[in-house]
Symmetry: C2
Subunit: 232 residues, 2 copies
DNA sequence: CGCCAGTTTGACCAAGATCAACGCAAGTGG
DNA sequence: CCACTTGCGTTGATCTTGGTCAAACTGGCG
């Protein structure tokens, strides 16, 4: 559901198409990242600050350097939909339409690399490795979206929450994970209500699958059982 | 949610990045399609025949020439998830993983263009327009997936069915549309059960929003009302 | 200390799932 | 040509999951 953990400068990026993680192209991919670093501008955003808004023209795509970015959309009647949480190494904002269909906000303190479309386009002409890297990023997003489609279309509340926790754990890699996002962020991401998310978490606590010292720090006690719930 | 209608040889394809439909690149895009036609193999599939299976290695991507392709996945416990219906002009099967995560089957009589990854890779080197075309196809898929994420995450059964009908209508373009796929295909695509799909359709009939001479042919009587239900 | 936003819990409700018939049209075989 | 089967589609009765509404709790922070 979520992409590999990767800190930007030393990112483990995937190679050829369609195989991920091949060794051959790795150095080339690193070149691509260095090239991007040259045309990109680093920017910092504070908690809940807007990186771009729905409806804006949109002249650049982004790469998360650190922190978490929330890609979301507000419906007319107030319902909100959080399409994605982007972690360090993830790319976002390469949408097709002339106007942005979603807004991007910082969940916590965030640093991103802003990459203008025009400069990227130029860079691609002379650097085919970058084109491949970009394609790979899109495929990662696509994969993630497909996985989430399954989650939202066919899984129960428990399954969704379990899958969410496990996905986060795969990034943070430790069994102690912190969720900087609010419960309603999580709910809007999983297609549930705040109350349901709370109840499922409480249920997991009662069943000793997780422990929660604070609301935003969760320990995965019985990872195997969680995996069994999330299955697939 | 769904891409523009497009018959392959005369396809209206979109241009630069990220703007869709720009006139400038159209002829170039046509070149790309002609180039693809050269490396691609046309294949026919009968109703319910498998184009590729979940777990297969996957050495090619595809473009639908005619007919409808169903991209789906079967869960361990029997639940099924239909990720996408692909219509003439749509591309599918460019997944990142070494193994296919979904299977592709023909919904009705289907013709596809099979495009091996290796040959595509080679063609891209010498034909940057193709690279752009491919990127565009991926962005289309991504857009579609995002839209469906919203649908599955936040919309009611009525809203889903209305949106589905309208999306189909935009492709077929007439008010008379036929749904060659079964009710359970539709249900598994919308994250509902067969019964719910039936009930909603019956409800729409009762409210004179649609008429249904047969189960697989539906007339949109009050498109405006349907649009109001689907909203957004 | 008291306020405020976010979190948690409980009581109740409704949308949609499940279970069970039934209808209907297209085969199939006698 | 007609009984019989088979696979969808439709409808109804009932149940469950998760949503809604409301209230209590918690932890920062002025």
């Amino acid at each position: 559901m979520y992409r590999q953990p990767a800190v930007l400068p030393h990112a483990t990026v995937s190679g050829g198409w369609p195989h991920a993680g091949s060794e051959i192209a790795r150095s080339g991919q690193l070149d691509a990242l260095i090239a991007l670093e040259r045309i990109g501008a680093r920017m910092r955003f504070a908690r809940d600050q807007e990186i771009y808004a729905e409806g804006e023209p949109g002249a650049a795509w982004f790469k998360v350097v650190s922190g978490i970015v929330r890609i979301s959309k507000l419906l007319a009647d107030g319902r909100r939909h959080v399409a994605e949480f982007c972690f360090a190494g993830d790319s976002f904002g390469f949408e097709r339409a002339a106007e942005r269909g979603f807004s991007a906000e910082a969940v916590n303190e965030v640093t991103v690399l802003r990459l203008p479309f025009a400069a990227t386009e130029r860079l691609i002409e002379e650097n085919p490795v970058l084109a491949r890297h970009l394609r790979d990023e899109m495929l990662k997003s696509l994969d993630a979206a497909q996985h989430r489609l399954l989650l939202l279309g066919r899984m129960t509340a428990c399954e969704r929450v379990a899958a969410f926790l496990l996905a986060l754990a795969e990034r943070g890699d430790t069994r102690q994970l912190d969720l900087p996002m609010s419960r309603s962020d999580i709910a809007d991401h999983l297609g549930l209500t705040v109350e349901t998310v709370c109840r499922v978490l409480s249920d997991f606590k009662r069943r000793r699958l997780i422990a929660a010292p604070t609301a935003h720090r969760i320990e995965l006690v019985d990872r195997r059982a969680l995996a069994a719930i999330a299955e697939d």
